[in-house]
């Protein structure tokens, strides 16, 4: 049997059972029964991406089978095998969608099944920055379950997102491995067809970040091949069904590594036989040309971005650094070179093994840096990274910042020999590797002494206050340069952010200071200064130099941009925006929703649906992606009246933004407690009448504003 015959066979098998399943579902529910996956605006994502047609009910699904059949040609050519592989994958998507019929919840822990749009969007930034260097799709399991677990862990330790299908879920689950989005090991389902859920993520990445037109399959496949660094690891035995999915994966550019030799073929860089499964990691990375950022840190536990979302529960905790009860803080200080002894890690006070289990302790860590190109403005940029770095330590959890930190160290880490000094090692190693262009010398002082920390904290607060004062004084008017950020062009090739002191990048991860530091660290990198020149309209924030910059950096895709308007050439979005705002026409206000909020908004659209209207580097007047902190900026849609236009936000977002937003509104409109005037999902979800009534009762400032000049 040839390779193509196997693909065709798997495709035929899937086609026939899909037809039967659809017929059975129609017999039960009728053709008008709605079909959808939860939490996606792209339903059904693979079929939509491939054909440009959305399927909403069983009747449409049945009709779509004719389209699928038409692509199931049988010439002995790779094109036919590719088409059949995709056809087989689309059948799998239909079979999976049928599981969700009639409000069913087909998947329970550990299986996750369909992954939401929010999941996809959360991947955006880390995929761009290389924090998630790739996506491993593990299919089936090894004969020895420990081998499967070791494989999944090897990718996890490299920060690679792992999806599991079939026995691999069982193996990892039974071994007690933590599974889920937060540890980047995502169990899809026990059935092989559930692998479609990760394909669906890749397809939506192309639609969301790549602005690929649904139905432009050629562009879709090019996007996934060039930009989505996924690969498949498939344990033997491989059924024809799996082989057909493999053809689909290879069509999208994802190589398949397997130990199957029975009736199997090899294709360079695409279908690789590796009988030594302990080498699958290295083989796969080479096949997909994935390069890892190497940071070798000498600590007794793993260090990887995959552990960033790991949660340490109270019962698993050895000690806790608790800034809410005792004096704790983290601080970066610029020093003279003579004052810093490179790689000095000092622990003042008792080490972890001298402290009773379960203690809540006072601890501070101060990182002194020196370097010719170092600027005090970069201190906060580095400090903000501490959260992510410390979280990357396996078995350590960090929350908060400045003097409001909480750090938990697990019992497992303690048993592995983890010490406070190792936190110092991590901070030292990361500062030296990520900020090598500005930091020549670095030392870390960890103080585990309540008395000393009381004094030190007071000093730290002086530093924080001085920084805040500087930040507050830093406005778009007070600087001469803004910065581009095109970090996301790896994913969204025509998007350009303009980052200003009062408008951070829409991902929330790049402030003006970050951009400035990035320029220093990587002079030819993604952040380039643009001198404010040729102001055409101060109110809209329109400059000749900004237009020229977006034109240049979007390779001509964009001609104009304004910094402060929602309607006039609004800034584009890559797709990894934290929030999205959209016009609410009844109140002449704007609705903001955020990635974490899956529910409906008064616009009748969820975050995903709103997000699908923008993103991919296109300008959609009336809709705009942005960072959370932009909400409380005076420059937020300043051309349309500023944050006073906000009429609805999810409650969670309101609570996060309350303090700063209230302060801004007080200054701009003389209104106290502005955040309370904004409606949320507890007040109304879809009914504009309810919204208007609430705004009227609250005396919301939008009611006295001019209608939008649309």
């Amino acid at each position: 049997m040839t390779l193509f015959d196997r693909v065709f066979g798997g495709n035929d098998y899937n086609y026939e059972r899909t037809v039967a399943a659809i017929d059975a579902a129609i017999a039960q529910y009728g053709e008008s029964e709605p079909v959808s996956f939860p939490g996606t605006a792209y339903s059904l994502p693979c079929y939509y991406g491939v054909t440009g047609v959305k399927i909403t009910n069983l009747g449409e699904m049945k009709a779509a089978m004719a389209t699928i059949k038409a692509n199931m040609t049988r010439s002995p050519r790779l094109q036919d095998a590719f088409d059949s592989g995709i056809a087989s994958a689309l059948c799998a998507e239909f079979l999976e969608a049928l599981k969700y019929l009639h409000g069913a919840e087909p998947y329970a822990e550990p299986e996750m099944g369909h992954l939401t749009d929010a999941f996809v969007r959360n991947l955006g930034v880390p995929l761009v920055t290389g924090d998630i260097p790739g996506v491993a799709v593990i299919i089936g399991g090894a004969e020895d379950p420990a081998e499967t677990v070791a494989l999944a862990k090897s990718y996890q330790a490299q920060g690679i997102l792992v999806t599991l299908t079939g026995d691999s879920i069982k193996h990892c689950h039974e071994a007690g491995m933590k599974l889920g989005e937060n540890v980047r090991v995502v169990p899809l389902g026990y059935e092989m067809q559930s692998v479609i859920h990760v394909v669906s993520v890749a397809v939506r990445a192309a639609l969301i970040f790549g602005n690929i037109t649904p139905g432009d399959f050629k562009a879709l496949a090019k996007y996934t091949m060039d930009r989505v660094k996924a690969f498949v690891n498939a344990y033997k035995p491989l059924s024809d069904e799996i082989v057909s999915y493999g053809a689909g994966a290879i069509c999208l550019g994802f190589p398949v590594v397997s130990n199957e030799t029975e009736n199997m073929f090899r294709v360079p860089m695409s279908l690789i036989q590796q009988l030594d499964t302990s080498k699958w990691n290295a083989t796969s990375l080479e096949a997909r040309q994935i390069k890892l950022k190497i940071t070798n840190i000498d600590i007794p536990v793993a260090f990887a971005t995959a552990f960033e979302g790991e949660i340490i529960r109270r019962g698993d905790m050895q000690v806790e650094v608790d800034g809410s009860r005792v004096d704790c803080f983290e601080l970066v200080q610029t020093k003279e070179a003579s004052e810093v002894e490179d790689h000095k890690i000092e622990v003042i006070g008792p080490e972890i093994d001298e402290i009773p289990v379960g203690s809540k302790i006072s601890l501070s860590y101060t990182v002194d840096v020196a370097g010719k190109a170092m600027q005090p403005d970069f201190e906060s940029v580095m400090e903000r990274k501490f959260h992510s770095w410390i979280n990357c330590i396996e078995g350590v959890m960090h929350t908060g910042q400045r003097d409001m930190i909480r750090v938990r160290i697990s019992k497992a880490d303690f048993e592995a020999g983890f010490k406070f000094a190792h936190i110092g090692e991590v901070l030292y190693a990361k500062v030296k590797s990520e900020f090598d262009a500005v930091v020549d010398k670095c030392q870390v002082k960890i103080v585990v002494d309540a008395e000393q920390n009381k004094e030190l904290r007071a000093h730290a607060n002086e530093v924080f206050n001085a920084r805040d004062a500087r930040l507050a004084s830093m406005t778009d008017e007070s600087v001469n340069e803004f910065y581009t950020c095109i970090m996301c062009q790896a994913f969204s090739p025509s998007h350009v952010c303009i980052v200003t002191p009062e408008r951070l990048g829409l991902c929330g991860a790049v402030s003006w200071l970050d951009a400035k530091a990035t320029k220093e660290l990587d002079p030819n990198g993604p952040c380039q200064p643009i001198v404010k020149e040729g102001c055409l309209d101060e109110h809209l924030g329109r400059y000749e130099s900004m237009d020229a910059a977006v034109n240049k950096y979007s390779q001509g895709a964009l001609e104009h941009v304004t910094l402060y308007s929602l309607f006039q050439d609004p800034m584009t979005s890559c797709g990894c925006f934290e929030c999205i705002c959209g016009v609410e026409p009844c109140s002449m206000g704007v609705v903001i929703t955020c990635r974490e909020h899956a529910g409906m908004t008064p616009l009748g659209m969820t975050f995903s649906e709103m997000a699908s209207m923008t993103g991919g580097g296109v300008q959609t007047p009336g809709f705009m992606g942005h960072g959370k902190h932009f909400i409380s900026s005076k420059k937020f849609i300043a051309a349309e009246g500023g944050p006073g236009r906000i009429v609805w936000m999810p409650k969670m977002l309101k609570d996060q933004m309350r303090e700063r937003l209230d302060a801004t509104a007080l200054e701009m409109y003389g209104v106290e407690n502005f955040t309370d005037m904004i409606a949320d999902e507890t007040i109304c979800t879809e009914d504009p009448e309810q919204l208007l009534e609430y705004l009227g009762n609250a005396g919301h400032p939008v009611l006295s504003m001019e209608p939008f000049d649309m």
Binding site: S270, Q274, K279
Partner: protein, 634 residues
């Protein structure tokens, strides 16, 4: 059929040629297009191979009424003798080219006109030949190898050294069929002896010698020509260049090299880049110096230096008709005597350089290895000084040009394949990644497209049409000679665009490997590279060459060399498809021997397929490849 939108079409190329023919008319020049008309219809006896004029009793022409010549030889003997003589002419020509290279190798010295640029390759071949290399000066080794190589032409005993490169099975077939070539000159002499009046008239014996003479070329003279050219001038590696008549530059001094032997053209290229020469060019009002080429000299210098290709065999008059050609410098083979009178209609200097190719109305500057530098410099200078003599009213360089990536020696192909291998799984330096592509069906197979142009076929249509057809069917094309230039002119070697029109399998291979779908392997002597590649694939795969889904094709061939090539390609086990009949159709028996199932196919596991309907020829090639796949169960 796909539209291949970016390619330059035959119609566009013909329109460009027509604009040049207008100039020809204006200056009263004679062109091949006119001469074809004058010569048509061709002699039917000649075309069928049934005219014998090897003794002065004749000429004898075989008809139904006169089925035998005066000596009594039947039509099969006559056709087979003509076929063998044709082959011997080609084998002698290619091999003599190889011999010249060996003589040049003998002249190499440190800092001299000719040097060893790829010592590694020289050492590799020396080891293969059992020559001690340890502690030996590279030039001493080069001279020793040159002498040994030259002995391959006349050694009294034994067979060709390079035969050992073939898979054992192939060597056994050759031994069994008694076609292992002995000394190269002997095979040519034996052929001429056999065809002498009163010697062989048994078709089978004559065809057998044709295969043997062919093998002495492909696995002897040509292979030495290729391998030792690489030693002296460098083994080709992928390099980007341009092709078609538009590569000539109006504001520059244009020197066109033409012929086959790279020894002289290497020197011309060197001196064209000499600052002194460039300054001289500027002093006469030119912006610079452009070297371009036609035919296989062009292929040699494009493979190693990326020198642009102005055209192929039937474009040789076009370069002069541009009115912008200061000099056309030729060495040996495929040079139209017409260039003499044609150059007189323009300011163009027609410079012949080899005692082998003396042509009326040319300036003869005899080239020798000792004086190569001086001669080349003098030629470049002569071209520059000729620039002011241009008649600007006649200048017309059609604006046709395509990008091409060339330089795919066997070594380079393996390097490309290493690039798609996985160090965790694969061994490097083999053809295995290519085999995996074919075995899995991603590629259906490969075609070696070679050969000339021939007015009997609308120029380049067969090359380009067949190539497109193969590419659309996931069949990778390797090519040499004027076929390669046809591909380059059309744009099929464009590393960015050409893959877009291929089948999905070939497209993916091109993307992953960073190659164009048509690989330029060099000049016509470099078909020996194809033989080495086929041998390595068979060995790496563990099957016979004849089982590999590979076919050869010469759809527009015309020269004796091409027939010699056809013989050694078939004798190597590769089914070979011809679009022009090799003057053999007059004999059923010769046709059966060459094209039947029970002729040469029984000896060497391959045969010729002749079909002048090019589309049908292409279908047969694909069918042959698919049949080989089916036989392998893949």
């Amino acid at each position: 059929m796909k539209d291949w939108a970016f390619t330059t079409t035959i119609e566009e190329m013909e329109a460009a040629t027509n604009s040049l023919l207008e100039t020809a008319q204006k200056v009263g020049a004679d062109t091949w297009q006119q001469r074809v008309k004058n010569q048509t219809p061709h002699c039917g006896f000649g075309e069928a191979g049934t005219c014998c004029r090897i003794c002065s009793m004749g000429p004898c022409r075989i008809t139904k009424k006169a089925p035998r010549g005066i000596c009594g030889c039947d039509v099969h003997g006559i056709v087979a003798r003509n076929y063998l003589m044709f082959t011997a002419g080609g084998a002698a020509t290619h091999s003599d080219h190889g011999r010249e290279i060996m003589h040049t190798l003998h002249q190499t010295r440190e800092g001299g006109n000719y040097q060893v640029k790829d010592p590694e390759k020289l050492i590799r071949i020396a080891k293969e030949w059992g020559v001690e290399t340890e502690g030996k000066d590279i030039y001493a080794l080069a001279h020793e190898m040159a002498e040994i190589g030259l002995l391959e032409y006349g050694k009294p005993f034994g067979t060709q050294r390079f035969l050992k490169r073939a898979p054992e099975h192939t060597q056994e077939l050759w031994a069994k069929a008694e076609i292992e070539p002995r000394a190269i000159d002997r095979e040519v002499s034996t052929a001429m002896h056999m065809t002498h009046m009163g010697c062989s008239s048994l078709a089978e014996a004559l065809i057998r010698q044709a295969l043997r003479a062919g093998l002495s070329d492909g696995w002897g003279g040509s292979m030495m020509g290729t391998e030792f050219s690489d030693v002296m001038f460098g083994t080709p590696r992928p390099i980007d260049t341009t092709a078609n008549i538009g590569v000539m530059e109006k504001d520059n001094v244009n020197i066109v090299v033409h012929g086959h032997d790279p020894s002289l053209s290497e020197m011309i290229v060197y001196y064209a880049n000499d600052p002194e020469m460039i300054a001289l060019a500027k002093s006469v009002g030119a912006k610079g110096i452009t070297i371009s080429g036609v035919c296989c000299t062009s292929n040699e210098v494009t493979m190693r230096h990326g020198i642009p290709m102005a055209g192929n065999y039937l474009n040789q008059e076009n370069v002069v008709l541009t009115g912008a050609c200061e000099a056309i410098v030729v060495d040996v083979q495929c040079i139209f005597p017409a260039l003499g009178p044609l150059s007189k209609c323009f300011h163009t200097k027609f410079i012949t350089t080899s005692p082998i190719a003396r042509i009326p109305d040319s300036e003869f500057i005899q080239f020798s290895a000792e004086t190569a530098g001086e001669s080349a410099k003098a030629i470049v200078k002569m071209a520059i000084e000729n620039f002011p003599n241009r008649n600007n009213e006649l200048v017309n360089i059609p604006n046709q040009k395509q990008n091409a990536r060339v330089g795919y020696s066997v070594e380079a192909i393996k390097k490309v394949l290493d690039g798609v291998a996985n160090s965790q799984v694969d061994e490097f330096g083999t053809t295995k990644p290519l085999i995996e592509c074919v075995h899995s069906g991603v590629l259906r197979g490969a075609v070696a497209m070679v050969g000339c142009n021939n007015p009997k076929v609308r120029p380049d249509t067969a090359h380009i049409g067949l190539m497109k057809k193969m590419l659309e069917n996931d069949i990778i094309v390797i090519t040499t000679g004027c076929s390669a230039q046809a591909a380059a002119k059309a744009g099929l070697m464009d590393p960015v665009q050409a893959k877009e029109y291929c089948g999905a399998g070939l497209k993916r291979v091109c993307e992953l490997a960073g190659i164009p779908p048509v690989l330029h392997m060099g000049s016509c002597v470099d078909i020996s590279r194809m033989m080495i590649l086929a041998a390595d694939i068979a060995k790496d795969w563990g099957i016979n060459i004849s089982q590999v889904p590979v076919v050869g094709c010469a759809p527009e061939w015309m020269s004796e060399k091409a027939v010699s090539i056809g013989n050694y390609v078939v004798a190597t086990g590769i089914e070979t498809f011809l679009g022009v009949d090799p003057y053999s159709k007059g004999s059923e028996e010769v046709t059966r021997l060459l094209q039947g199932e029970d002729g040469i196919k029984e000896w060497v596991e391959a045969k010729f397929v002749v079909d002048t309907d090019i589309d049908s020829l292409g279908d047969k090639m694909i069918a042959c490849i698919e049949a080989k796949r089916a036989a392998l169960g893949i």
